[in-house]
């Protein structure tokens, strides 16, 4: 076997070569003075980098003073209230409101239509509001990402108005 290239030798030293290739390199370096010298240099370099990057006494004192053993608890994040949960809560609240209000305004059939329509409308309104808000945020942070959000907002607006076409108009006397 010819001398392995620098990358192969490095991967071999790191134990990152497949076993068959590693065996071939191992048997080569045993008899190759050039590779033996390269390995020695690489190991010296590794040791030097390890030593240079280790925390010094002052840094060790600093980390000791941080008292991470107790302070790690303080990074417990507050319960994240995501927009998704807010939207879901809104939909459920809307649904409940429709359920309560419906008996006062119509029959059982009306109730079913109104509940269904109310849920869709509320969902669409919330979706539109949140999409527009998110779009504004994204546009300030990442114009490329922000482009997708107005499209979602338009889609939500379509959902807001389209279901109205499906509901038969009630006569003024009903």
């Amino acid at each position: 076997m010819a001398c392995p290239d620098e990358l192969t030798l490095d991967l071999w030293l790191a134990g990152a070569l497949p076993s068959e290739e590693a065996a071939a390199v191992a048997s080569h370096v045993q008899t190759c003075a050039t590779c033996a010298a390269a390995i020695q240099a690489a190991q010296a370099l590794d040791a030097e980098l390890h030593a240079a990057l280790a925390l010094d006494a002052e840094e060790l004192r600093y980390v000791s003073g941080l008292e991470l053993a107790s302070s790690w608890r303080t990074s417990r994040p507050a319960a994240a209230l995501s927009w998704g949960w807010i939207a879901l809560a809104g939909v459920i609240a809307g649904f409940a409101a429709w359920l309560l209000a419906a008996p006062m305004v119509g029959s059982a059939a009306d109730l079913a239509i109104q509940v269904g329509l109310g849920t869709v409308l509320l969902n669409a309104v919330l979706g539109t509001v949140f999409s527009l808000g998110q779009a504004l945020l994204d546009l300030t942070q990442s114009p490329a990402l922000g482009l997708s959000q107005p499209l979602l907002a338009l889609f939500a607006l379509a959902l807001l108005f389209w279901p109205r076409q499906l509901i038969p108009q009630r006569s003024p006397h009903s």
Binding site: E6, L7, D10, L11, A14, G15, A16, A41, A42, A44, L45, D46, A47, E48, L49, H50, A51, A52, L53, A54, L55, E59, L60, R61, Y62, V63, S64, L66, L68, A69, S70, S71, W72, R73, T74, S75, R76, Q141
Partner: protein, 198 residues
């Protein structure tokens, strides 16, 4: 600082207690690994206060995900992977902020300036060789610095580094070769006496 060395049995016992919700048991694990975690983060983010904050986040995340820790594997490597991941997230977030503030190549230039361009003569006279190496590492391009820190401070395997940085093991090797080459060149430019680096 007295670094608490924990035996495998003690570690397993503390992990089990922590999993059961015993925060004081986890605090003992934090005590034993705080230098390694903080050091890894510090070498990556190069800011002590940020490193402390990120270390706290990393430990909290580890506590939250302790159920997924495989007790047959070393806890240290698992913790360091979480810490490195948090540090990389911090760097990405900083880069986004910088790109937003300065924009594109200009941001890279500004970041380079912020990291402090070296004054070779001054550095050599002021710093010991290991300080010069550390300084040179801090000036490496981010992918190379990350690989060097994860390898030479955190002692992570090439496979672990590859997974964390989402590249192949071969690419990790290539990145490290380039990083060492750049370090050699940087130290030579500064005229730093050397053993293995140049």
């Amino acid at each position: 600082m007295a670094i608490t060395e924990l035996s495998l049995d003690s570690t397993q016992h503390l992990v089990q207690q922590s999993r059961a919700g015993d925060e004081s048991a986890f605090a003992a694990l934090v005590e034993a690994h705080q230098s390694a975690v903080f050091g890894t983060v510090l070498r990556l983010v190069s800011d002590r206060e940020v490193a402390a904050e990120v270390s706290n986040r990393a430990f909290f995340k580890a506590y939250e995900h302790l159920a997924s820790f495989d007790e047959l594997r070393p806890l240290r490597a698992w913790l360091l992977r979480i810490a490195a991941n948090e540090a990389l997230n911090e760097l990405r977030s900083r880069r986004r902020d910088a790109a937003h503030t300065f924009g594109g190549a200009e941001a890279e230039f500004e970041l380079e300036q912020m990291s402090g361009a070296p004054d070779p003569g001054e550095i050599v006279s002021r710093l010991e060789r290991s300080d010069a190496i550390r300084d040179a590492v801090s000036r490496l391009p981010e992918p190379q610095r990350v690989a060097v820190v994860l390898r030479y401070f955190a002692d992570l395997s090439y496979a672990d580094i590859a997974e964390l940085t989402q590249q192949s093991v071969n690419n990790v090797g290539v990145t490290l070769l380039r990083a060492r080459e750049r370090l050699r060149h940087d130290l030579e430019t500064q005229g730093v006496a050397n053993d293995g680096l140049s």
